[in-house]
Subunit: 467 residues, 2 copies
């Protein structure tokens, strides 16, 4: 989009000297490519400096200084975001949470973890695993993404179906406001009804209201047993029927319900050289169960499979209970984003839709785009009504983009969906907010932004629309 640099200061030598005094040896000014480019390589900033604080106090000192000098900043975690929210648009200063990666405490009885914002998701999972606990959020980028970034973007992922969203699982957080003030809501309590639940505002605000420096998470018991079923079926209606049956028959042990269409499977096979464990079908379903008693779970799963194969809604399927086999099946689903990059450029959409309209969008886009694109694929979290729709072409084309947008967003709005289910708005999608939120809601958001960050230094050009 057309966007003009705001009326912010530019970083001078005297600023660099101050930063160097505040963060000795942790001010980077060279080789900033990795910090300036997003994972999809579709957004490129021109930051001249990256700051790497270790503590909340350091974040506070930096922000206080930047706020006084009107220097714009962009908070950055693992830089795995998909909407250009974690890189600069112009020359905003990058504040990286890379060195804020300490675990602060763990209460094993209640399952409460407190840690700094820069802990990598997979490291937390490993740590908790040693204490028979697990983390309630899981996603493909887990090897790189930071928990602070997960919270700031309200990351969803494959476990949301079972454990719910971060709005329910974050027990507390600490954030630094634009003026350097530390807001301590780092409660470890599951219940606390004393005033407005401020932490909720930071969850999903993509670094525009404050920089999250620490979080407190409710961590469930690590399941004793996990099983995965991979099923093939003839139609999307069958996918929905399988979902309904799985909710009833698998109940509390159902931990993931994902679907892929046959075009998605082609990406896995052709671009990633993965082998499908079953024959070709128009649609595939991945079901995961996890629970405290393996034999109970397997009995539930086999009763369920007997039922859905008996009634003919499932054509073929395989079940895995061994970790390696489970991992292989999950790879097909989790590596799709990587596989798509082999095509050249990927137009990425992440929408929510009521289930009755869910797959209609993929069909509508396929018909509309015809041979203009390499492929149109649909996969995602059926259990959450969350569709990942992706189109690819050898390279970025304005013509293709103009054919996709705003048509796609209008379609989603007309079917009462959300134009961003879990990726957020960031830089790329902010001006489409009115497709999912009312004018009065956006006006309140702007009022809140103004209250929290009057100089607008925090992650400018993101989330809130220009008009």
């Amino acid at each position: 989009p057309d966007v003009k640099r705001g009326n912010y200061g530019s970083v001078r030598d005297s600023d660099l000297a101050t930063f160097e005094r505040l963060l000795p040896g942790r001010v980077l000014t060279d080789s900033l490519d990795g910090y300036n480019t997003d994972w999809l390589k579709t957004c490129r900033g021109a930051s001249q400096v990256v700051l790497r604080p270790k503590s909340t106090e350091e974040v506070s000192a930096i922000l206080k200084y930047c706020n006084e000098k009107k220097l714009a900043v962009v908070p950055q975690g693992g830089n795995t975001g998909l909407v250009g929210g974690s890189v600069s648009v112009f020359d905003e200063i990058v504040i990286s949470t890379q060195l804020m990666n300490s675990i602060i405490s763990l209460d094993e009885i209640s399952g409460t973890l407190v840690c700094q914002a820069g802990c990598v998701l997979a490291s937390l999972e490993d740590y908790l695993s040693n204490h028979k606990l697990t983390i309630p959020v899981d996603l493909g980028a887990k090897g790189s993404c930071h928990i602070g970034g997960n919270v700031a973007t309200n990351a969803g992922g494959v476990r949301l179906l079972r454990y719910g969203s971060l709005h329910g699982n974050v027990l507390g957080l600490e954030a630094v406001l634009a003026n350097g003030e530390v807001v301590d809501c780092l409660s470890t309590l599951r219940k606390d009804n004393t005033g407005y639940d401020l932490k909720q505002l930071f969850i999903g605000s993509e670094g525009t209201l404050g920089i999250i420096t620490a979080v407190s998470l409710n961590c469930p018991q690590k399941p004793e047993a996990v099983s995965v079923a991979f099923l093939g079926c003839e139609s999307f209606q069958s996918v929905l029927d399988i979902f309904k049956e799985s909710r009833q028959k698998l109940g509390e042990v159902l931990s993931a319900f994902e679907f892929m269409d046959s075009q998605t499977m082609t990406v896995a096979k052709e671009n990633l050289k993965l082998r499908s464990p079953i024959e070709d079908y128009p649609f595939y379903v991945l079901i995961e169960t996890s629970g405290s008693n393996g034999s109970h779970d397997e009995e539930k799963l086999s009763q369920f499979l007997e039922h859905v194969m008996g009634t003919g809604i499932v054509q073929d399927g395989t079940v895995a209970t061994e970790p390696t086999k489970i991992q292989n099946i999950w790879s097909m689903r989790e590596r799709i984003a990587e596989g798509l990059m082999h095509d050249g450029y990927c137009y990425k959409y992440d929408v929510s839709l009521p289930l009755q309209s869910f797959y209609g969008l993929v069909e509508a886009m396929r018909e509309r785009m015809g041979t203009m694109v390499t492929r149109v694929i649909g996969y995602g979290h059926v259990g959450d009504g969350n569709l990942h729709l992706n189109l690819t072409s050898p390279e970025y084309s304005t013509e293709v983009m103009d054919k996709i947008e705003p048509f796609l967003y209008d379609w989603v709005a007309n079917h009462k969906g959300s134009i961003s289910a879990e990726h957020g708005l960031g830089f790329k999608k902010k001006n489409f907010i009115y497709h999912s939120k009312s004018k009065s809601a956006v006006r309140l958001m702007k009022d809140i932004k103004h209250t929290f960050d009057p100089n607008m230094i925090l992650n400018p050009y993101k989330v809130l629309p220009d008009f």
Copy 2:
């Protein structure tokens, strides 16, 4: 507390005429006792008029008028709150949701219910039950409380352990701001990351930021089977040990973990004439499991009981699987609040504490109060770190109150607890907010209040502190 009436208008005949025009036949000015007195009969307001809108548009019209005339209002649902939040302090106009009790829609596949704010909790549960679904919140007042009030106060209750808080289960809501503007966040989607999650601010704001007119809820499958175990043990440490074992052995089917001390049992026996199903012990634990396969759940429960009785942490116990027996056991827990009223006056506290300090507060208060009170009892949701501490005396006594407060709040703050776990702050506890929240957090709350309700007409004298 000492409190002065704000600079609001008083209701005149011309106002009444306007209300009567907006809500023909639904403006009450006589026999308002039930609306002016809270459930505990400890707060009594002097409202001269009660308005009973049926629609969002009517709520909007009333508020627009009141805001222009600077007439203060108090939203009221089932009026079952315990902190004086739902009755007027002076002559605020009561806006009751009694007649806003329609179900708007139900999606059976995804389990999404949309309804008006005045639906009674138990009615919703009955309705959902016919569709093999259940509601994620349950509490003793379910026969009277309104879902809008539950959301406005972020009600907790016995199912929070299993399904999490309303911050995770409310998918959307509609609220009317002080100026009459309708904020439509009534999404039915499980995921929607488009801008700040405004609905979260209304959840738990006790009617001070807007009046909730409709909600959208994520409803889980109704369990096929429910079992309850009632156990006796020797010490509070045993209660914690039982909790840890139950998390591991019962895992995903554990749906409630409640405790009562022997003094609580005395209330059940003496004041309510209930019969305990087991012998006398210093502590009692109520465990509920619910799941999709009764025989699996019973097997898990019996393996668990065998283990905890074998290791000696449980002395005695009984298991119920029949609805009537289950109901009888739950009654002992759910009717305690009612039983306490037989003593005369009840000083009611609802705090969260880290588990290691949990019961210490009851012991400290018992020692401090000695014979000044009839009894000091502790019970509550161990699984959520939520203690209900109650003291009774024949009638209200300032001397007793001064001995309890602020000592109790200081104790909770010193042990990093919350002074209100699920009841909220309302009128009674607002000035104790700094025991649980920092100055910077409270300042942000005040800024938000000012943004949402500049004339401060919504539920004044509640939630936010005077100073």
